[in-house]
Amino acid sequence: MNLTSSTIGPIVVIRMAESRIDATVAIQFKDEMRVLTQASNGRVVLDLSAVEFIDSSGLGAVVAAMKQMDGDRRLELSGLTPTVDKVFRLTRMDTIFTIHTDLDAATATDPA
């Protein structure tokens, strides 16, 4: 599963290069996110611009990924495509993440 990490300044950017976060990859995604998010105690942005589809398992895995982060850190999301955005909005899970349009927006701002 293609999940890669890089840094932009102090921000850890994790890019999900698979097109689907669904039941097939949800557990793997959660496990790999645990490892990658531990590399930082600051901001972490999950780049979802390549993800075209997410089901309830995938949504749960993204929530779990945030819960795995230490303290009260928020997982930030970037580049939600239309279907993924729809799933987050319908379930109101868009209210629990900081969501950026794209990586430029994510790295330009410093959330309060």
């Binding site: 669904d22 097939t24 089901d55 309830s56 819960k67 239309p82 799933v87 319908l90 379930t91």
Partner: protein, 141 residues
């Protein structure tokens, strides 16, 4: 269309891809197809994970009928399998997830039936002759 699948780790992806191809051929919009995919992903996953308990090989059949309504569609779906019955023979409530809670108390599951109920109408479940039958309609753009 009638789609027959064999339950297993790839069943949902295969089913969704087949439906997408068929509906694109009917000129359904991407927005409408994404709603269909969201519902069918949950329905297929439920059959694979719960009706068949992750045991591969079971029979799954989807019937889909589309009707043009204005610039959109009315779609009727019937999903059949021969797995275990729904607990208590009834559909889960699919209540909205709690979002106004501390991070550690956020739910990691239970979104599936909520999404199905949110996006469908006339959702019914019936069991007869060792078959599960889930049916629903969708009004699509």
């Amino acid at each position: 269309m009638i789609l027959t699948l064999t339950s297993g780790p790839e069943a949902a992806r295969q089913g969704l891809a087949a439906v997408r191809t068929a509906f694109l051929a009917r000129d359904m919009s991407e927005d409408a197809i994404s709603s269909v995919q969201m519902v069918l992903a949950e329905a297929f996953n439920n059959v694979v994970e719960h009706a068949y308990g992750e045991v591969p090989g079971g029979w799954i059949e989807l019937h889909a009928a589309l009707e043009r309504v204005g610039s959109g569609w009315s779609a009727r779906f019937d999903l059949y399998d021969q797995g275990r019955a729904m607990p208590d023979d009834e559909l889960p409530a699919g209540l909205p997830a709690e979002v106004d809670v501390a991070t550690q108390d956020l739910p990691e599951g239970g979104f599936g039936w909520f999404l199905i109920r949110e996006l469908t109408q006339d959702l019914h479940y019936a069991r007869s002759d060792g078959h599960n039958h889930l049916s629903f309609r969708m009004v699509l753009p």
